[in-house]
């Protein structure tokens, strides 16, 4: 019986091909990371954009403190008297419910 001899076939990766493979792998990794971070960044970006819009609304307002709101002051004068008055307690305040006891 002839002796079987295993001869490994040479796979040769030239320096140029190796760099090519490395480059391709890098590109795939990088684009994956870029896309995911991009999506996540976007998801927080809109919160900041909307918040900025509201702060802008504050800055462009002529009156910027609640106690200087003329309409609210007029309402108190004509109707609810003052904060925490009996009528204000009735209309603007509430109570809460222990929901663990609701079956």
């Amino acid at each position: 019986m002839a002796e079987y001899e295993y001869i490994e076939q040479k796979t040769e990766v030239s320096r140029r091909a190796f760099l090519g493979i490395l480059g391709a792998a890098g590109a795939i990794l990088w684009s994956g990371i870029y896309i995911t971070t991009d999506i996540f960044q976007d998801r927080n970006k809109y919160i900041k954009m909307r918040a900025k819009g509201l702060y802008k609304d504050d800055t462009i307002s002529k009156i910027r403190q609640s106690h200087n709101n003329h309409a609210v002051a007029a309402m108190y004068k004509e109707f609810a008297q003052k904060p925490l008055s009996p009528l204000a307690e009735k209309l603007f305040h509430t109570h809460y419910i222990d929901r663990t006891k609701l079956s």
Partner: protein, 442 residues
Amino acid sequence: MEKCLRTMEPNRRFKLTDKGERILKGLQEKEIAKVIVIEEDKCKGCDSCKSFCPTGAISGKYGAAHRIETEKCIACGQCLVNCPFGAPGDVVDPVDHVIDKLRNKQLTVVTTIAPSVRVAIGEEFGLEPGSLETKRMYGALKKAGFVIGDTNYAADLTIMEEGSELIEKISHYMLKEESHIHLGALPQFTSCCPAWVRYIELNYPQLIPNLSSAKSPMMMHGSLMKTYGASHLWEKRPEDIFVVAVMPCTAKKFEASRPEFSNAAAYWASKGTAGNYPDVDVVLTTRDLARLFKKLGINLAKTPEFEDADNPMSAYTGAGTIFGNTGGVMEAALRTAFFVICGKELDVLEFTPVRGLKGVKSAEVTLKQAKTGRELTLKVAVVHGVKENIKPVLDEIIAGKSPYHFIEVMNCPGGCVNGGGQPINPMGTSWTEKFRALLPWN
């Protein structure tokens, strides 16, 4: 509501009311049982909703369709705005009902528009996120037939009530002055966020005394419009005023259905005209309002601007409008508290320590009482994103070690601007949509 109950699982325990209606555990009569439901066909079981749910109300194994347990759900809608597949949906849809009411000429249909709506509604009409659309939104509302009311007005009113309550508590507990009204405990929590209120009611009932007794701006505005509005402004019967709240929030739909919120009816009953109506009749989310505009053929982006001058129900200040941001309620409250205690206005109104997206923001403000010259240091904290950030703060209070006097809490990360009723991910409808948009063959 009946439809919601019918879709309930059969193994739930029910209690029956006198009329034979079924009530779920942890819910009062007439309250909307389900606001958010996950569509089984769309759910891929990816668990992202679970990572956003503040109460752990979502059950279901990874890979299998998920389900929301109504008893634990606070209806904040964070699962809805963050689902990559758009599976959770808002099942309370009153758009057609509102259109019907708008056609009824006997009714005065009044809106109460939340601050965060004006910086997000544009997104549904192709405008950039954060573009301030107050005037065009007013124009579109006018065109649709609404009488304009702005929740920002009620936010200012909230500051007056909630701020006065806080000052009363501080002078009673810290300065040992007498008080004529029943006061809760310090630290005082804000109570504007309905999801947060329900969170406390469900999970920390021992902290209920810490919640400010002031109603949310929406509910205050509702009862005010049906009392003061009815008698002093429009001279209408309160039954003929139909209040439509437009909110960035799905939990508001639940809040408006709470049976205790019929203060206007109780007020008129005490004046001799009995009636049975809620303070706020219908709640629309920002998405719902956009749908309503589209159904009526109104394009917000092309609507001429409209300024509603001389309308007391929509007059607001800068302090009222920042309510939609995390830290906004605190900043607005401090502006007024400073004035009330120190007797003069703040030089710089922007209070930066409570701005930004840090999970828990805290600050100290030294106030000098104008009357007596005494100094007191007010310690405040701002929490948003209840899921991640609230527990240490609450544990501190329960242990009696909390240094704070006033704590603002908003359930959603970033505050109401990122609420569950806002347009879904403006940079694309959902993550997968966004991903698909990047693909070359699209």
